[in-house]
Amino acid sequence: MSGGHTGATHKAPSYLADAWRIARKDLLIEFRTRSAFLAATVFAVLAVVIFRFTWDPTAIPAMDLAPGVLWVIFTFSGLLGLNRSFGLELAERAYDGLLASQVSREAIFTGKVIANFVFVMCVQALALPAVALFFDLSVGPSWGIIVGIVLLASLGLSAVGTLFAAIASNTRLAELLLPMMTLPFFVPLVIPAAQATAVVLRGQPIAEGMAWLKVLLAFDLVFVSACIVVFPFTIEE
């Protein structure tokens, strides 16, 4: 094991500070190039438009279709950013430098998750209004709950997606492999999120969607901790 693995001796403030430094670096690179963000946003808008033109409003009410559309777009646009997450680091062997530094592996992972989380949220900030606009949805006063659902689902998606991006970057088939591995893992995120969104959009009381929110919360708790625990195994050399 390399000398940089000092996770146990790190104090909490420095752990978070390290994670934040990694996240800031990734976000700064993304902000300067904007390549992945543009790709994900254009993809999201195109997908909404295609769904809108293949949808027959007289046959299916918008309320029934929109949650599914929203979460399909959410999942796939999220994937576009994840591929890049460790691809950035592998160019010019920057990853080796990162591993040799004093930053603990858990902090590297947390930083990457934060960066991906912010990325996914930014894409969502554009995709959500686009879906609402094109499907003529009136979200009304319950938009706060939808933002809450998006936050919960984005956290789980970023944690699991970042871990698998790290795994996939070690293989020959990175871009192909990532969706194959991650999509089954997103099932317990996408179905509850879409169901809870549907409850909100139909104007039902949120208590009816409580079971779905609990699944999302449980997923986040279990998988964020599990991913932090197993991440060091993906980079051991």
Binding site: L163, T171, F223
Partner: protein, 238 residues
């Protein structure tokens, strides 16, 4: 650092692979015999008709593929991360691949049965949908394995995925169970006494045993093949 894998003794020459495997031959004969008994010497179900015969293949394949094979995959993946023995990695790989075959049988025989008893090929029900997702998960696991050259890296990465999958399966099942339900509850493993007539139960028990034999024969063969492959890779690298 995996000290076990690098310190493990390497054979100077590779053992010769055998062309005929007696264990597998016995298992195949047993499966054929069990199918013959189920087809010709077991009464036809009064409610479900002849299609119910699929039960004798579908249910053993489901129990073995979903519980035995996936259970082995999960346990050996978690154990690998802990003790780093490369035999555990080969066990995980073998159970995933053999399990995939059994789950494939479940997914093919299921719709045939559903068509005759429910009038539709596929329903999005918890048990069925979970099986499909598990099948996809195992396919992803095997594709991941095929994407890595180094034995040590492959073992480590796939063990990470296998461990996470163990955590994921209950979530998938819960999610799709909340979604909707139609599949019959288990008949044989019901908490009270089995609801099947003794003749049918006997046929079921025999086919369960035969498929279990087949599972272990295939697992053993696949494990051996993986051992040979890794030994060869190690010899070539040396």
């Amino acid at each position: 650092m995996s000290s076990v894998s690098s310190a493990a003794p390497r054979p100077a020459t590779l053992p010769e692979p055998k062309g005929f495997d007696a264990f597998l031959a016995i298992a195949i004969v047993a499966v054929i015999a069990a199918c013959a008994r189920a087809l010709f010497f077991t009464p036809i179900d009064a409610m479900l008709g002849a299609a119910q015969k699929i039960f004798y293949v579908h249910v053993p394949a489901a129990i073995i593929g979903l519980y035995f094979a996936c259970g082995l995959l999960f346990i050996s993946s978690i154990m690998y991360l802990w003790i780093k023995d490369e035999r555990l990695d080969r066990l995980a790989e073998s159970s995933a691949e053999v399990g995939l075959v059994f789950m494939g049988i479940v997914l093919v025989t299921g719709p045939v049965w559903a068509r005759t008893s429910w009038g539709t090929w596929w329903v999005w029900e918890a048990r069925i949908t979970s099986t499909l997702f598990l099948w996809l998960l195992v396919v992803g696991y095997l594709v991941l394995r095929s994407g890595v050259e180094s034995i040590e890296v492959r073992a480590r990465l796939s063990a990470v995925m296998g461990t996470l999958a163990a955590l994921l399966v209950p979530f998938i099942h819960l999610t799709v169970k909340l979604f909707r339900g139609m599949h019959p509850e288990p008949v044989v493993l019901a908490p009270e006494k089995p609801k099947m007539p003794p003749e049918m139960l006997m046929s079921f028990g025999l086919s369960m045993a035969a498929f279990l034999l087949l599972f272990f024969a295939l697992l053993r063969l696949r494990f051996r093949w993986a051992t040979l492959r890794d030994a060869r890779a190690a010899m070539e690298a040396a």
